[in-house]
């Protein structure tokens, strides 16, 4: 069973704005029955003010696809077309309180339907170019297609390089066998590779995943201990509001080299999703520091340390 948030369940069991919108003047249709999910987004846009006055959806798909569609309509009604264009798939996922990594593509589908509908309204042709493959790294939500592109575009040859460029395999490290398989497959057919394409606007593509900063020894200016500590503290402060919204909190306890000890409190302690929260904290810190660190619960702090 998926760990859906209450918000996802709410939008699945009682979807908002479901059904056909007869007076729609902006329609976006994406997905396919082959992939297992498809979304038709219908919007009524005021031609003068450019405001989206109403939006409805019809979705073929799983619980999170329906919830993402429902959330999308709620998010865009009342916005102007240009404001709506700023909505990304991450925004949809965040609105829903997060989606399991396997289900992030549902939010991508929402963002794409929105772009398709706006293109339809403006009389432009919208071409989708996003492709997705088997999810390889569950910690960071990286699929095979993304790894393939990273390997091709950047001529990567080793597992370590793939991790540096895509983060895939950088956390729990259980997917290394799969990454190596993808790597081998790409290397085996080098030469027959097409030039990289740009991804659909508003979705997360390869360019959103910058190579991590070179390792400490190569870094031109190594952080001092104090600078590093401040970065960690700042990153955790940034995360707190999000966690507090769920009734929990996170507190930095100690930093021991690559091990960063935190304490989850409030609703987080004992919550079945606390492992996921820890993972999120780790991902945030890895991003902030540009190096791999492990986030551990304070209970694992070595005695006497």
């Amino acid at each position: 069973m998926w760990n859906y948030t209450d918000k996802v369940k709410e939008h699945f069991f009682n979807p908002k704005n479901a059904g056909a919108l007869d007076e729609a003047n902006a329609v976006g249709e994406v997905g396919s029955i082959t992939c297992g999910d498809a979304l038709k987004l219908m919007m009524k846009v005021n031609p003068d003010s450019q405001v989206i006055e109403d939006a409805k959806f019809q979705t073929f798909g799983c619980g999170s696809a329906i919830a993402s569609s429902s959330a999308l309509t709620e998010m865009i009604i009342g916005k102007t077309v240009d404001e709506a264009l700023a909505v990304t798939n991450r925004d949809i996922a965040e609105y829903l309180g997060g989606l399991p990594p396997e289900k992030m593509h549902c939010s991508v589908m929402g963002a794409e339907a929105l772009r398709a509908a706006i293109a339809n309204f403006k009389g432009e042709e919208w071409v989708d170019d996003h492709e997705e493959g088997e999810l390889v790294c569950k910690c960071f939500g990286i699929d095979a297609a993304m790894i393939e592109r990273a390997v091709t575009v950047n001529s990567l040859t080793t597992l370590e390089e793939v991790t540096h460029y895509t983060k895939a395999g950088g956390s729990c490290q259980t997917c290394h066998e799969k990454i190596e398989e993808v790597l081998e497959a790409v290397l085996a057919k080098t030469g027959a590779l097409a030039p990289p394409k740009s991804h659909a606007p508003g979705t997360v593509g390869l360019d959103a995943i910058k190579p991590l900063a070179p390792k400490a020894e190569a870094a031109p200016a190594k952080l001092t201990n104090v600078q590093r500590m401040q970065k960690i503290m700042f990153a955790i402060e940034e995360l707190r509001p999000q966690i507090q919204r769920d009734g929990g909190d996170v507190e930095l306890v100690d930093i021991d080299g690559k091990d960063i000890y935190v304490r989850l409190t409030g609703a987080c302690s004992g919550c079945s999703q606390s492992a996921g929260t820890m993972m999120g904290v780790q991902a945030k810190l890895v991003e902030a520091l540009g190096e791999f660190v492990r986030v551990k619960p304070a209970s694992l702090l070595p005695v006497g340390a």
């Binding site: 699945f12 069991f13 979807p15 479901a18 059904g19 056909a20 249709e29 994406v30 997905g31 396919s32 029955i33 082959t34 992939c35 297992g36 999910d37 498809a38 979304l39 038709k40 019809q58 979705t59 073929f60 798909g61 799983c62 619980g63 999170s64 696809a65 329906i66 399991p100 396997e102 289900k103 398709a116 919208w126 071409v127 989708d128 996003h130 997705e132 493959g133 088997e134 999810l135």
Partner: protein, 401 residues
């Protein structure tokens, strides 16, 4: 109806029978000895294990109790069987299996093909899930070390003609293994007079606990253990015995034999009632697999134009547990390999929903499911862009495919 709801996912796992649990409990407390030990604590447990072995022997109709090797479950049994034969016949480099096997067999075969240089023949099925016998016969040859074909399919319940397949394999000089995880306890078996060489079974599919299973190895068959270590299971599966699990499996085997007729009469009738009622009440749905030749407890209905995970979530909300071959439930992007192998169109494969009953299922529960399902399907279709307001499929061709 239990407090948690109506459980129709017995092909995934079953509830441990209270009688099974009662047999197991003393093994955790008083009879905790190691059967390999020389003292009385161990001897008592050893006796229980041999009793359990005889129950499994009886359920399978095997000639000797020493043909039963206890393992951790279906996956270990499947892996042990295939790897043992490949090691015992190192000169043969081909494997025959089917496209609809469980991942315990398919993923291992993929690996052996990719990394160990084996040739794998995956036999296809028709749109009813019946094995392509001509392709099967053509694949058999002197290079084939092992044939591994499931007895009954977990998703559709479709039964393969195992005895015929085993005879053909034997004539071609190949060892015949069958993954009978879904069939044991539902189909009467007499392995003593069968050409089947090896058979996998799993405890938790027949009201024993998870983590226990068995591999049947016909007497005289060359065998190479996967786990080496102690002398347990006559050195065919090292490691201190999972005594409570083994005793649980023994008790479950005894009960399964007792309830075999019930499964094939009362449970089968409930399944048929459920299926016919759904087909009558819901438009655009059909039964997958071979309705004329399948397990008595399994019913797999494909609902067109809607997606399985959404069906399951709404069923769950109504207190009904079922299962789906939809891509979304597994986190993959493709619908079940079984549905694809049968050529079920994508419009229906994503909505394939499996109801699997057990001897604990009651008529009252089935009536409740019959009352709830049509409304759930209608609700999801009202959300689907492939379904028009008029209650019929419509044209919908979105941008990418």
């Amino acid at each position: 109806m239990t407090a948690q709801g109506i459980y129709l996912d017995n092909n995934a796992t079953t509830r441990v029978d209270p009688e099974v649990l009662a047999e197991m409990l003393p093994l955790f407390t008083e009879q905790f000895g190691n059967p390999s030990s020389m003292h009385g604590f161990g001897a008592a447990v050893g006796g229980k294990i041999e009793w359990a072995r005889k129950q499994v022997q009886a359920l399978l109709g095997a000639a000797h109790d020493s043909e039963i090797v206890f393992t951790s479950g279906g996956t270990e049994s499947d892996n042990t069987a295939i790897l043992s034969v490949l090691e015992a016949y190192p000169k043969k480099k081909s494997i025959v299996t089917s496209v609809v096997e469980h991942p315990a067999v398919l993923a291992l075969c993929d690996y052996l093909e990719k990394k160990r240089g084996y040739t794998v023949h995956r036999i296809g099925v028709d749109n009813r899930g019946n094995l392509d016998l001509d392709a099967y016969k053509a694949a058999l040859g002197p290079d084939v070390a092992i044939v591994s074909i499931m007895w009954a399919n977990n998703e559709t319940g479709t039964i393969f003609p195992i005895e015929e397949l085993a005879q053909l394999a034997k004539a071609a000089g190949a060892v015949f293994h069958t993954d009978a995880v879904q069939a044991v306890g539902k189909i009467p078996m007499t392995l003593a007079t069968s050409a089947v060489d090896m058979l996998s079974l799993s405890g938790h599919k027949l009201h024993a606990p998870k983590g226990i299973g068995a591999l049947y190895v016909k007497r005289g068959l060359r065998f190479r253990p996967m786990l080496r270590g102690g002398h347990q299971e006559r050195s065919r599966r090292a490691g201190t015995e999972n005594a409570p699990g083994i005793v649980g499996l023994g008790a479950a085997a005894q009960l399964a034999l007792m309830h075999m007729t019930d499964e094939n009469t009362r449970v089968k009738a409930l399944r048929d009632k459920l299926e016919q009622a759904i087909l009558a009440a819901v438009p655009n749905c059909f039964v997958t697999g071979n309705p004329a030749n399948r397990l008595p407890n399994t019913c797999n209905v494909a609902f067109e134009y809607i997606e399985g995970e959404a069906i399951l979530l709404l069923l769950n909300e109504a207190g009904i547990a079922a299962s789906s071959g939809s891509a979304c439930t597994s986190g993959s992007l493709e619908p079940s390999h079984v549905m694809r192998a049968m050529g079920v169109p994508y419009t229906a494969a994503h909505g394939a929903t499996r109801f699997s009953l057990s001897r604990e299922t009651t008529e009252e529960e089935i009536d409740r499911v019959i009352a709830v399902v049509p409304g759930i399907i209608a609700k999801l279709r009202s959300l689907s862009p492939y379904w028009s307001q008029a209650g019929a499929p419509k044209e919908f061709a979105p941008v990418y495919s």
